[in-house]
Symmetry: C2
Subunit: 399 residues, 2 copies
């Protein structure tokens, strides 16, 4: 029986305790739950402690689940646990993306593990899959819908032909979006996740601060209306790929996807991830990317991996050498532009070789039209787009 | 550097050699290739041997890839290798489904591994995922499109409104179906695969001979035409689920799927698998279920797992205690029936509470109609269906 401690008895923490109780009571025992609060009447109230040192000093504890979130106490406790040779399993993507390099090295130095399956894609098995099942592959690209909140908002905007602000408000009321939704809607959450996946893919450190990140706050109902005229969906994609020169291209941004794109059917709070290997081709994973029990299930799978490792290294991780980033400005892409009909000639002149559509076909968008550009470099597009000023209303990349 | 031997230099065997050469030359060395033939001019011709004993007696060989297929020599060589303490990685689903119980026990007894990621779903990481990432779950059900050949045939019949016989012939010409296509089209291949997955899911032996298996040879264009009137696809599903009484329900059969079913979008030679966990909910995997390099990639991932295991057991496998099977006859289902319009009254009387559709709406099916039954037990359905004799033309289960 492996004895563990759970740091944080919130949503994920109580999920971890529940998953162990339901599925792994024969293999794992929750000896401590660290929380600032007491939980009178809770079946586990006798396990609750307020002092991390009790856990740190208990030689019986070999694995700690850090499900507190944040990068303050969570960071300190994780460091201390690893230094004491206790493995740490976490769902804390902010900590992994921000300090994973240091924490992985610390774990290796102390013969224990720092595992974070739950930090990306909730219960979808992604990280262990990249580290083990795809160990025989050169992974060339990862493209994912990695944030359930924004996917829920975009799905509802499309399905109900509703405004961003209205859908966000309802998502907040339903608990699908936080009161301060910035981390989700501005793309930061997806950015941390793709930073983790691209570091695993390349074996090198990836700094989330260096990833071009654009959220969904600028997406309007009109954009959906034009997109659907061309059988396209709008999704917030996080994507990374290794270029021929070995540099990493990585960004988070909304994209217009063809309706038959494998990720086009990933709706609502679901996540989907497409991994492209050099001999495997594409393989796709689809499931609940968040939620108490799916996330907890992934944390507990990591705990079982630690328990079974018997001191042997668990594959995965990355070095402290930072990846080289490709310049987004040099990337070739096509763009969707929504513009004023009165400026059609200027738009067509600015982006030659593209195609206009939707002229006069959407009653609520009278006086506007849609335009798909030809392939061009990001920097050239942005420069010309900026010059068009008020003539253009929005632009979204095409996938 | 781990030294390995490859048994069989056919499609998968040459793929294994290629994947190692391209992606793992720093970790793995192919020391021997066993084949009856010689390969003059092949870059690996000097590794080719004809006598398995050379491999068996070479203490440097710790891992053997059995990619010969069949259950004759492949079975003997696998047993001998495991008895000599050499791990075996295979794509041979027939051998795993038929003799896996014995071979897993043999591996355990000799401190080595018998791994078979490539035996189900080609390059889609399924088996290791069930054994590790989902180790914290009680897996309740697995539903999959596990045979690429039949999925290709069904996809083309629907898309091109073509006859089964014509599409099969073209699939054979293209190499997507074998000259003797029975193993695929009669469902035996999918049966072996679901036997393997259900054994892993339950931890118990599952005999493929005891799995109700129905192929696609009876599916006609008319069935597709009626199905599409109700926005349904026809797919050959392999499915297993653990019932409340602990018994295993398992079968292979064509099903009519709603268009929004997660597996409805899995087309052509692709495979898709939906796994339902008790706390995770549904997670879906989608990718190339066959093919030289995807299959080889999965074999090589197993080899890397063996190489990294350092004598520690790799999770997975099942005991020699056989699962208890639920009686298919007692299963509750709904059915699609295609019948002669002249017998509409008898059909409606035989299956009360259902709904007729498509009457006179499909020009090429004049004189026929479609019918969806209410929920009923398989045995009751079959009895009444049989009694209807010539009045009914086909029946397919509804998912």
């Amino acid at each position: 029986m492996v004895k563990i401690a759970v740091l944080g008895y919130g949503t994920v923490g109580s999920g971890v305790v529940e998953v162990i109780g339901r599925n792994c009571a024969d293999r794992l025992e929750v000896k401590y739950i660290l929380d600032l609060r007491d939980f009178p009447g809770d079946p586990y109230e006798d396990r609750v402690v307020h002092d991390f040192n009790i856990i740190l000093n208990d030689a019986e504890i070999s694995v700690v689940c850090e499900v507190m979130g944040g990068v303050g106490a969570a960071y300190q406790f994780t460091k201390q646990a690893l230094e004491a040779g206790k493995s740490v399993c976490t769902s804390n993507k902010e900590l992994v993306a921000g300090h994973g390099t240091e924490l992985l090295a610390l774990a290796a130095a102390h013969g224990c593990h720092y595992l974070f399956e739950a930090s990306v894609g909730g219960g979808i098995p992604l990280i262990r899959t990249i580290n083990t099942s795809l160990a025989s592959e050169r992974i060339q690209a990862v493209t994912g819908i990695l944030n359930g909140t924004t996917n829920y908002i975009l799905s509802r905007m499309e399905r109900e032909q509703a405004d961003y602000a209205m859908v966000l408000k309802q998502a907040q009321e339903l608990g699908y979006a936080e009161r301060n939704p910035d981390a989700d809607v501005e793309g930061h959450d997806a950015c941390r996740k793709i930073a983790i996946l691209s570091a695993l893919m390349t074996g090198r450190k990836v700094d989330p601060e260096k990833i071009y990140t654009e959220g969904i706050t600028g997406i309007t109902l009109a954009d959906f209306q034009f997109a659907s005229m061309r059988q396209r969906k709008i999704k917030l994609l996080a994507m990374c790929s290794v270029q021929e020169d070995g540099k990493l291209s990585v960004l988070v941004a909304p994209f217009l996807l063809p309706g038959d794109h494998p990720l086009a059917g990933v709706n609502d709070v679901f996540n989907g991830v497409l991994i492209t290997g050099n001999t495997l081709g594409d393989v796709m994973f689809h499931g609940r990317g968040a939620g108490k029990l799916p996330t907890a299930s992934a944390v507990v799978a990591d705990v079982l991996d630690c328990a079974g490792s018997q001191g042997r290294p668990v594959p995965g991780g990355w070095s402290d050498k930072e990846v080289e980033y490709a310049a987004e400005a040099e990337t070739d892409r096509r763009f969707f532009v929504r513009a004023r009909l009165s400026a059609r000639r200027e738009v067509e002149a600015a982006f030659p070789g593209g195609s206009a559509f939707g002229v006069g076909e959407i009653p609520s968008c009278e006086g506007e039209f849609g335009y798909f550009t030809a392939v061009m470099k990001e920097k050239n597009f942005e420069e010309r787009y900026r010059k068009l000023g008020d003539a253009v209303l929005n632009r979204i990349r095409l996938a």
